[in-house]
């Protein structure tokens, strides 16, 4: 089954393995006329790139994007935008042992069960490097959304037991702290916690939060293509994410309706809500208030302490993972969550274009 595509009208197809020649993405369905240059993409890829801080793998990967099609004279042409990143830092030797044995918490066993064999080098297709293509595509989606006044703010909300304090929210810090936390105090604590993890040959998990401002009311479809349903799929399709919340999320299960409903009021001639428990989506359709989403990310499964497992021959064995691994997935996944959310909302924007006869008549002006 062709399962490497995402989106309906704006549709991306990613390809590539961790240790193959390259990874990439084809972005199809982007409207013509969007100003776009390689730096727009590279800025996003740089946020995903490893080897930049003490808490990410020391692997150095340039991850320089090459745009291969779909741009002419600095603008999208409406035809597919193909982008590629060459793999340059491949230490296949590091992965010799895992060729034959299933790493706990990884997809090694399930790949073999599904396909009969796998490209085991660096996790192959199930490597976090697959998200390179998502991020390159997400950069385009985010730029497209900006044309409509839609802006995403995505950051690390917590790492292990350390959470940010929204009163200390510092947007700039998302890009400058190694944790991608918008609170330098919380980040310092989280960094110390991660240093501990590394000393113990262990890893940690955390929470990513995504806020989207400027989304007009009306995006999303009322049944299966609900905006929150598609956001959930988008974010759950990122490896290591094990839970997704919209708005108040799990907290709603303990509430009464009188506490959880958001009242409508008029303000400056516009419909607003006096609270936002719903996280900006009602009945699957955006309501014009801020969209709020959280992703819960498991700890990196690659840890250096020895683990019990089995091999391809069906024998019990013990595995000590070597190589270079992040002690936490969260900071580098922040831009991946942003990318997937941007792609989902951009697709919803396009899907909604034909929802009303009167809107269509604005385009086909006759």
């Amino acid at each position: 089954m062709a399962g490497s595509s995402f989106g309906n009208i704006l549709r991306i197809t990613t390809w590539g393995e961790s240790h193959g020649p390259a990874l990439g993405v084809v972005v199809d369905g982007c409207p013509a006329g969007l100003a776009l240059e390689p730096d727009d993409i590279q800025a996003y890829l740089n946020r995903r790139r490893p080897g930049q801080t003490k808490i990410s793998t020391p692997r150095k990967e340039a991850d320089t994007v090459e745009i291969l099609s779909g741009i002419f004279e600095g603008h999208t042409t409406g035809t597919p935008i193909a982008m590629m990143v060459r793999n340059t830092s491949q230490h296949s030797a590091d992965y010799g042992e895992i060729a034959n044995c299933y790493r706990p918490g990884h997809a090694d066993y399930t790949f073999d069960a599904k396909y009969g064999f796998r490209d085991y080098r660096g996790g192959g297709r199930s490597s976090g490097r697959e998200t390179t293509g998502r991020v390159a595509a997400g950069a385009i989606a985010a730029k497209l959304l900006k044309e409509f006044g839609i802006e995403l703010t995505v950051y690390t909300k917590s790492i292990g037991p350390f959470s940010i304090d929204m009163n200390k929210f510092d947007r700039q810090a998302i890009l400058t702290t190694p944790t991608c936390m918008p609170d330098t105090d919380a980040s310092a604590k989280a960094e110390a916690y991660l240093a501990d993890c590394m000393r113990n040959y262990d890893s940690a998990g955390g929470v990513i939060e995504c806020l989207v401002d400027g989304v007009p009311a009306g995006l999303g479809d009322p049944v299966f293509e609900k905006l929150d349903a598609n956001l959930s799929k988008a974010v759950m399709s990122i490896g290591a994410v094990k839970a997704v919340e919209i708005g108040d999320g799990i907290a709603v299960a303990d509430r009464h309706g009188s506490q959880n409903n958001d009242a409508f009021r008029m303000e400056a001639g516009r419909v607003i809500k006096t609270s936002n428990h719903a996280g900006g989506i009602l009945g699957g359709i955006s309501d014009g208030s801020q969209i709020i989403l959280r992703a819960y990310v498991k700890p990196t499964p690659s840890i250096f302490s020895p683990q019990q497992t089995v091999n391809k021959q069906g024998e019990n064995t013990e595995l000590s993972i070597k190589g270079r691994h992040d002690p936490i997935i969260v900071p580098r996944a922040v831009v991946v969550v942003e990318s997937m959310a941007a792609l989902t909302i951009a697709d919803a924007l396009l899907m909604n274009a034909g929802a009303r006869l009167d809107n269509l008549k604005k385009i086909y002006d006759r």
Copy 2:
């Protein structure tokens, strides 16, 4: 945008409004040769039907299914199975006031923002009655899965502050308690709690848990069509669900890798895991252990206490909802979660059929 379909190979399309003539579903892509009769469907619809207990709306709806196509001599033919339920208990008069005014927590405002107007009677397309079609289809998916030894167990895990005790798990109670809890003690407490809610003109939320046994390793695709991603979309597409967890879900964010990884071992010649934090899915692909999923459901937004809102004319107003409404969505949504999970897994089973050349050769025996 056509947004009323779900699934890739086994694809359903639901249609119908709360107060229209009927609601229904077309199930396309079901393999030929499955024994199926109306009772298989009706048994599922009966679990969704209102008017059966003190904690569901007193509306009486027969919800008798009519199978219109796709079955011949008691078996599926491989062609689309159309099913329909006539609406019989319509009190449109009850909904006069909401024609012009937006109920908090409902999709009234977002429908108008999207489409310019809406069928306001009983919530129209965004009514919980839309799930009738999902449940009729889910009954087929569940029966198909049984042919492959796959079985779903879905129940209410908690209502407000009252949770089940897994040590008292009583499978039969799912079908007999008004709460769909598999623990009669917890159910009794939850019923009292709900009676309180009703006295206060208020409503409550809760949690639904879904366990799937017998899923072979290998279902799901490794990138966007991950089994957990599709399950999340499936469940988040049910109105009122605000969070989804797979396996240990949000708890993983606080863990270390050494705590969260599930070790592999051989047992009776099969690969098993010694724990199941992952909830049966690794890298988006089933690993052969139990699949575990939880959905967090908000309290019914229709409450009888007066609420602040606005009307279509853009004026502030106050609304007191009348009519007949469940004080809680959870018990009736249990079978909806089961249906959506069954549809997702059945689709994954079909999608996986062509994953390997050697498997295809078993079919095209040449």
Copy 3:
């Protein structure tokens, strides 16, 4: 595989068998706000209905449409429009013999090969009655296109050796001649020819032509979703169609480029073409001139003379078809071609809405 859906944004799903309880269609993705009532649909279904002339089967089927969802206060709501026609004239007894034996030219054998068994009554799902749903949906698409000044003219171009004379073109005659020919002289000759066929227990084929005026330049996508590619699929998906031409069609193979190219000129401030060999589509995209398409339809395979065939047991046998059958498929297929063409062009209109950033900004006016 779910194969009963057609279209991307405007998507229809048909269901039903010839002798099942009913046939129908779900039309999803129709924009909100289109005025629509049952008569709009019934007018199209009446053109498809049998039993109306000497050259169609004497079966009397009311084919009265019931609209089950998606319309409110006389307008489409943007949600799925479900429509159904009950089967009322079922003579299942007529089909006893074919339960066990494969009619030449029909899908009996291929259905059994694919699914292992089939609903043999009246051809089941492969009956021409399946097109009921297409025509009900096509009526909506045609009405939507009219809002944009797009109009279809579809008619019988030839029956056996008798073709219409374009100089005698009489649009009204399409609806009044039993042949659906827009030329009463040609129709009279064709009727005599068909009377002969019937006397000889035989059947005839013919050609349907479809002209579409008012299509704006720019519809269709440049690669796989070419407008002519989708029109070809649409028309070839009608049983009995064995060839499709766009514009001059097969004639282009004998031409020189200097003969076949259509020159562009300015006329009244608009780009026009001085000829239209291309049939209104260049590079898969509409060019603003008339779209021209022809479908070649085989003779009805159900003939009354005895035929050699095999049965389910794998034995040679002879079959004499009984029952009630049209001596020609063409006249009743005219409205089916019109419906499929309308659906394809309406879908292209919607798909094109997001092709340009400047057009999208007209909708999201910010």
Copy 4:
């Protein structure tokens, strides 16, 4: 709209412009375990490559394929196979004039109408070079089909007035004659005819025939995903194709049912047909006999004689095309038709895998 993908389960996405850095394709959904190496692909690309004969453009393009993902240890892994061909022979200067003016018979005008502007160099996305990706993908599909005993034979049937004589059919000649005709006599005449065309600054059209042997009965779906409908779309999506026939094609319109029906008989324990007017497909499903398809290709629209046209400013003008152009599209399109047919049939093979419960049980052996 994302329109650069083709196929349901085996799905390809092509990208790239004539004069961009590269062109390519992503093949998603290919089963794991197929032996595949670059030479399998290169052999097909070489058949499409220009500059090889007197009757193709003298442009020299190496068109060397680079496989970027999806292959491991010489076999497909089940993950997307990305392939790329670098553009090396770009004479952008040749295309200066057409930047501002619409070539008759090309997509220049319609691209501008759709997208507002276009990459005019060499036709950009609407160039025949787009088919590079289709052919690379088609090579994989053809190799997959061979595993199931399915083989395609595709060749030039006629060029202008010169047709092959089936009695002189020489399979080898398809690969050795510059016309791709399987009849060296007819080819010699066609070559002389084309030399004449070139002397007259003109071009020619022709017909391509595609035969597929070994297709098992049962492929294709009975309604919209009919095998012939998908083949028609596949072939019509190739630029310059203006008509498609299945089996006897247009000839059926003049026939009686008694002439056109193919009788079934038993032969060596298998169901066979005593004739094959239907071209191997009944009711949209393969019947086990040879599949027959013909594509009618228009003459190359790029001719060197001056032509009337308009420019972007909306002024009448005259255009004399320069550059390097094939006098005929047919021979180089033969392998494109083969590729699109192979992709369609391979997809049908995969789509059919889940059609029957008993077949699925062979895979999920429980």
